[in-house]
């Protein structure tokens, strides 16, 4: 059967061969970062530095998984846009809720 599909094949096979190694390396990196996070909580630094470090490290893990394991780096940009719409909206809503409940007016009245 005629195959119009093949006219659009953009052979990107070059990187396919080495994807196995990329995946394994990233997995090792993720494991190491997780280890660092666990150790970090016991380190004697001020709380805000640890929190920032934890959030940053988690974000790094997050980004590696979505861009590499979930393939966003090599896919059409629309997939990334679609996911980030949900992600940013969820993050924004979470931030707003936490602000609302941290406000002084939201504190339970002293009993």
């Amino acid at each position: 059967m005629s195959a119009p599909a093949t006219t659009a094949v953009t052979a990107d096979h070059g990187h396919d061969e080495s994807k196995f190694h990329i995946y394994v390396q990233i997995a090792m990196l993720l494991a190491v970062i997780t280890g660092v996070e666990i150790i970090a909580v016991y380190l004697p630094f001020p709380k805000w530095t640890i929190v920032t470090a934890l959030v940053t490290l988690s974000t790094v893990k997050f980004m590696f998984v979505i861009f590499y394991f979930m393939h966003l780096r090599w896919d059409k940009p629309f997939c990334t846009i679609l996911f980030f719409i949900g992600l940013i909206l969820a993050g924004g809503t979470m931030w707003a809720l936490l602000q609302l409940f941290s406000a002084e007016a939201a504190l339970p009245l002293p009993t």
Binding site: M1, S2, F78, I85, G86, L89, G92, T93, A96, L97, Q99, L100, F101, A103, E104, A105, A106, P108
Partner: protein
């Protein structure tokens, strides 16, 4: 009914191809109940959504008339306080979730694929699943009417189910459980349908149909679908939390356990506000289709109208606490949400100016759909004005929970959403059913509705400003509200008459109305390019789009288009013909399983010591098993189909297609 449908030409006349044999039977019914239960055709599914929506619209309307009758006189005794609670709860829930949303879904299903030149949606069986799960949700919500009121009964805690009223302490009956699970099922159905529409619009457009050439209705379908998939999770979680509080003694909203009932309000309105945009954006899309057609001009400022629609949608996520101005959030939060709410008026106003721009200098044809569209602009504006008044938090402090709010949202929901949807039915009726509603009767029903609606709700602005609270089953004669309520009730009877007239007219037209040929309004968009009623495969040849208002371009470049179509038709035939998906029973089976499980969870009385726990667990597990079996077989049967070779030409002479 089915016979009349068949005669009306809405059902396909072609013989189905013989089904591939499979372990489990593969349905091929063309007529009868089975053909409806196993359909995957977006037009039939859309018709069913519309059919159920209109039935529930009447149910919700009846509930409203009971409310208005109770409020006609002070200290009236038509309804007890308990019955009144059920009425306003079910009126709101029914109208929002079982009338307006599915009516919107009906248009998304029938019209959107036609407007993008597609043969169906991206996942036809998932589409059917959404429909049947919607039915399951509707059943669970309303089943309380048929069960003994003391222990069961229909939901009665308001359409927004505030905590702690919905806790087991204050509403111990199953009514609240029905409400919770009913909404959960509707949420599942809505999210599945919205995902389907997003993939369809993004991925299944005809060649040459870039995003900025899409009809505005398709854009609004897309934005609404995004709103659905992003807002429903919030209410899903909120409902899970309240259900766990009721059934597993958790502490989400339980003050004695450290919970905060205000959290429910936040989570609910994080969903609830985008929900109202879900209700209005499809209507705005329909109006954006009707106005250009009957003003004989393209839509003014298309890119801005699209962009504004998207802005309204996404800004809608940032304003939820304007429903909570009087809950004591603190000055900063209140001010922030007040400002954000005012911002939404901007894109809304922009759209209104663009619609006026569309009308300006046009050759206006005052047909029935146009009346509804013009009515929409004016009524929605009035609703918008009262909305802006709400956005000022200090003013809202008086208006909150008063009839001023009731007036506001009925102006935007009836004057806005319903007007546009009713107008859309008139507008697309000739396409879907091949018959046109008589101008006289159509306009009569419009005017009855228009006048009745305004007489009902305009006085309610004043009732609200004079302090009449919502959700109270009666009032004293010396409050100064008696005249306003009486007039409002009279208006509601007129509105009821108008709605009944509308329904009677549409029903009559369906069976005996004037038959019309194709493209009766001389339209601009692709859905008018196909036979009416549409054949199962929609387009003989997938159109190639060259400009916005694709059908208008086709009509004015006929030679070029004819050549193009001839070439494409040859190509399609060479590839084996038009591919159509097989029907399937499994979406229906899966939904049945969900219904049984939901019934088990909500209707059976049990806690862990009660003997009924076995029935409860049993029903739930059986339902779950049926659902899993349905999904498993759905996956197993695969997404295969058959091929069609339509005979004859594409100019109004349809012959049965040849199958293989």
């Amino acid at each position: 009914m089915d016979d009349a449908l068949h005669k009306s030409g809405f059902l396909p006349k072609e013989e189905k191809a013989p089904a591939k044999t499979f372990v489990i039977w593969r349905p091929t019914a063309q007529t009868g109940l089975m053909s409806w239960l196993t359909t995957v055709d977006h037009k039939k599914i859309g018709f069913l959504y519309g059919f159920f929506a209109l039935i529930f619209f009447l149910v919700g309307g009846f509930e409203a008339l009971l409310i208005r009758t109770q409020l006609m006189f002070p200290n009236n005794t038509v309804l007890t306080a308990q019955q009144y609670n059920r009425m306003f709860t079910m009126h709101g829930t029914t109208m929002i979730f079982l009338a307006v949303m599915p009516l919107g879904a009906a248009f998304f299903n029938i019209i959107m694929p036609l407007q993008i030149g597609a043969r169906d949606v991206a996942f036809p069986r998932l589409n059917a699943f959404s429909l049947w799960t919607f039915c399951a949700g509707a059943i669970i919500l309303n089943i309380g009417w048929f069960l003994p009121a003391l222990h069961y009964g229909p939901p009665d805690a308001g359409w927004f189910g505030y905590s702690p009223l919905t806790s087991k302490t204050f509403t111990p009956s199953h009514a609240t459980d029905f409400w919770i699970l009913g909404l959960q099922l509707l949420g599942v159905a809505s999210i599945a349908a919205a995902l389907n529409f997003i993939v369809t619009i993004i991925n299944m457009r005809a060649p040459g149909l870039t995003m900025m050439r899409l009809p505005v209705f398709v854009w609004m379908t897309l934005v609404t679908s995004f709103l659905i998939i992003l807002s429903f999770p919030a209410i899903t979680i909120a409902l899970v939390e309240v259900m766990m509080d009721r059934n597993f003694s958790t502490n989400f909203f339980e003050v004695s356990g450290g919970g905060m009932p205000i959290l429910w309000q936040h989570l609910f309105w994080i969903f609830g506000h985008p929900e109202v945009y879900i209700l209005i954006l499809p209507a705005m899309g329909i109006v954006s289709e009707i106005l250009p057609c009957f003003a004989r001009k393209p839509l003014y400022g298309y890119p801005i109208v699209v962009f504004s629609g998207a802005c309204i949608g996404f800004l809608g996520f940032a304003v939820w606490s304007h429903h909570m101005f009087t809950t004591g959030m603190g000055a900063v939060a209140t001010a922030a949400f007040s400002l954000a709410t005012m911002c939404i008026a901007v894109p809304t106003g922009v759209k209104i100016f663009n619609w006026i721009g569309t009308l300006w200098g046009g050759h206006l044809q005052m047909r029935t759909p146009m009346m509804f569209a013009l009515g929409f602009i004016w009524m929605f504006m009035i609703g918008g004005f009262s909305g802006i008044m709400h956005s000022a938090a200090p003013a809202d402090a008086q208006q909150q929970d008063s009839y001023f709010v009731v007036a506001h949202f009925h102006y935007v929901l009836i004057g806005g959403s319903i007007f546009a949807l009713l107008g859309g039915i008139h507008y697309w009726f000739p396409l879907i059913f091949g018959r046109k509603v008589s101008e006289f009767w159509g306009k009569l029903s419009f005017w009855l509705i228009f006048v009745g609606f305004n007489v009902t709700f305009f006085p309610q602005h004043f009732l609200g400003l004079n302090g009449m609270p919502r959700r109270t089953f009666t009032y004293d004669a010396n409050m100064g509200w008696s005249t306003g309520n009486f007039v409002s009730t009279m208006g509601s009877y007129l509105l009821g008459l108008g709605i009944v007239t509308y329904f009677a007219v549409v029903l009559y037209t369906y069976f005996k109305g004037e038959r019309v040929g194709r493209d009766v309004w001389d339209g601009r968009t692709l859905e008018w390019s196909i036979p009416n009623p549409p054949p199962e495969y929609n387009f003989r040849v997938i159109p190639t789009v060259h400009a916005r208002d694709a059908w208008w371009y086709e009509k004015h470049h006929q030679e070029e288009i004819a050549k193009e179509k001839a070439a494409l038709e040859k190509a399609e035939a060479a590839h084996g013909g038009i591919h159509m998906p097989f029907q399937s029973i499994y979406p229906f089976v899966a939904s049945c399983g969900i219904l049984v499980a939901a019934f088990g969870v909500t209707a059976v009385d049990a806690d862990w010591e009660h003997p009924g726990i076995h029935l409860k667990l049993g029903l739930t597990l059986v339902g779950g098993a049926i659902m899993l079996a349905g999904i498993y077989l759905w996956a197993l049967e695969g997404a295969e189909g058959y091929h069609l070779h339509p005979e004859g030409d594409d100019h109004g002479h349809d012959s049965p297609a040849e199958k293989h």
